[in-house]
């Protein structure tokens, strides 16, 4: 138990810290593709995938970790992915984003987090279980893309890594924008850890390394998976109500660690404060949280579990989930932001 607590918390602390300081936000990355026509953060998510794929297949090759093989629940992934995408726009952050923003003192994220836990627990154990199980029962035989293509996973690892590498180099070669920086008030290590703005690719590199590390740390406690947010979030709420300690595993301490790591990062850099949004945002956060909980449970993972981890394994589930996360995000962004901008622009033209 102690080992589980320590190994989970360490991984979570590092992740929460890095996410907060790096302003790593998956919903922002997906949303900015259409809202700001900016693919830099989206590319950063693929940096995480590429780095992690190298690490996990190397670890798999040495036999330290093994991957599951129970088919691809395509219907659940499509439906759940789309619903999750909508939910995370309303919630103002993906599942992990919600955990770390709660650590920054955002009350809206606390509301979204509770909704998320509730939605996920209802789908895993409660009244939505029937619907969830039904959607998850449609499965293909193949779990992995390389299995279908009948090639070594390393073929995919190399292709993706090369592609991402080329795009990263292209991005870094673009002329540097003269971005205004605040005057530093700290020096040395304190400046780097608690003040400096981190390049998104540096953040992505660190997230990728933490995601690799998560596998053996988790495996040591008997849980054979990498970073995962949804099941632990559902399990915390269910554990608190039922007292069933079989629900506690490495993942539980991972998510608690994310919260604490983000809190430490925010506190250390003077970015922690209790912040209350307006009523409408709170309402959206609550709806978005529950929606996200259902979506993630049915899709078999959130933007971390599917979007970064299953995708690095080249599981069909991970890649198809990304496509539907994107579609859901775009539909919700259109209705919550873009449509209003267009109406405002039309109104100002008419006037």
């Amino acid at each position: 138990m102690l080992q589980m607590i320590v190994l989970g918390i360490i991984c979570g602390l590092l992740l929460g810290f890095v996410l907060q300081r790096g302003r790593f936000c998956v919903v922002g990355a997906y949303r900015d593709l259409i809202l700001a026509k900016d693919g830099r953060m989206f590319l950063a998510t693929f940096v995480v995938i590429a780095i992690q794929s190298i690490g996990v297949y190397a670890l798999n090759g040495t036999g330290v970790i093994q991957f599951g093989n129970d088919g691809f629940p395509w219907l659940g992934t499509i439906v759940g992915g789309f619903i999750f995408g909508i939910g995370m726009v309303l919630a103002g952050g993906c599942a992990t984003g919600t955990w770390y923003r709660a650590g920054e003192g955002m009350i809206g994220s606390w509301v979204a987090l509770f909704g998320y836990m509730l939605g996920a627990a209802m789908t895993k154990y409660g009244v939505w279980k029937v619907a969830g199980d039904n959607l998850l029962s449609y499965r293909t035989n193949d779990t992995y893309i390389h299995e279908t293509l009948n090639v070594s996973p390393w073929v995919l690892v190399i292709i993706v890594t090369l592609l991402v590498g080329i795009l990263v180099i292209r991005e870094l070669r673009k002329p540097k924008l003269p971005i205004f920086k605040m005057k530093p008030k700290k020096t040395g290590l304190a400046h780097i850890l608690f003040e400096k703005r981190w390049h998104p690719f540096v953040t992505a590199l660190l997230v990728g390394l933490i995601a690799i590390m998560a596998w053996p740390l988790s495996a040591m406690t008997g849980r054979m998976f990498g970073l995962g947010i949804t099941a632990p979030s559902a399990n915390i709420l269910t554990f608190l109500i039922t007292g069933d300690d079989a629900l506690i595993d490495w993942g539980t301490f991972l998510v608690v660690g994310i919260f604490l790591g983000s809190f430490i990062a925010a506190k250390g850099s003077g970015e922690f404060r209790w912040r209350l949004p307006d009523m409408k945002t709170l309402r959206n956060n609550a709806i978005g949280g529950v929606t996200m909980g259902f979506g993630a449970s049915v899709a078999g993972g959130c933007t971390i579990g599917n979007g970064l981890v299953n995708s690095a394994l080249f599981a069909w589930q991970g890649w198809i989930a990304i496509v539907f996360f994107l579609l859901g995000t775009w539909v919700a962004t259109y209705f919550t932001i873009i449509r209003k901008q267009k109406q405002a622009a039309a109104a100002s033209k008419a006037a």
Binding site: G28, I179, F180, M182, G270, E271, Q341, A344
Partner: protein, 75 residues
């Protein structure tokens, strides 16, 4: 006279969305003072200003998780 945009309490991306809207009606050289408390906007607002060619004349953290940035419309 600079225009003040209060976005404290708004979560991202709304501070930036509001800033874009506010600056659209302003003349070149006018200044927009944006108060915000969404951490991610410390990244997105300066980046947007640089991309759009607006000048940042001041950017300060005024309190725990509270920032003020002054953007001078470039074009």
């Amino acid at each position: 006279m600079a225009k003040v945009l209060e976005t404290t309490g708004m979560v991202c991306p709304f501070p930036l969305v509001e800033a874009k809207e506010a600056i659209a009606d302003m003349a070149k050289g006018e200044e927009l003072i944006i108060n915000f408390d969404c951490t991610q906007a410390t990244e997105s607002i300066p980046r947007w200003a640089a991309t759009e060619g607006h000048e940042i004349t001041e950017f300060e953290q005024i309190d725990d998780a509270k920032w003020r940035i002054i953007v001078k419309k470039g074009k």
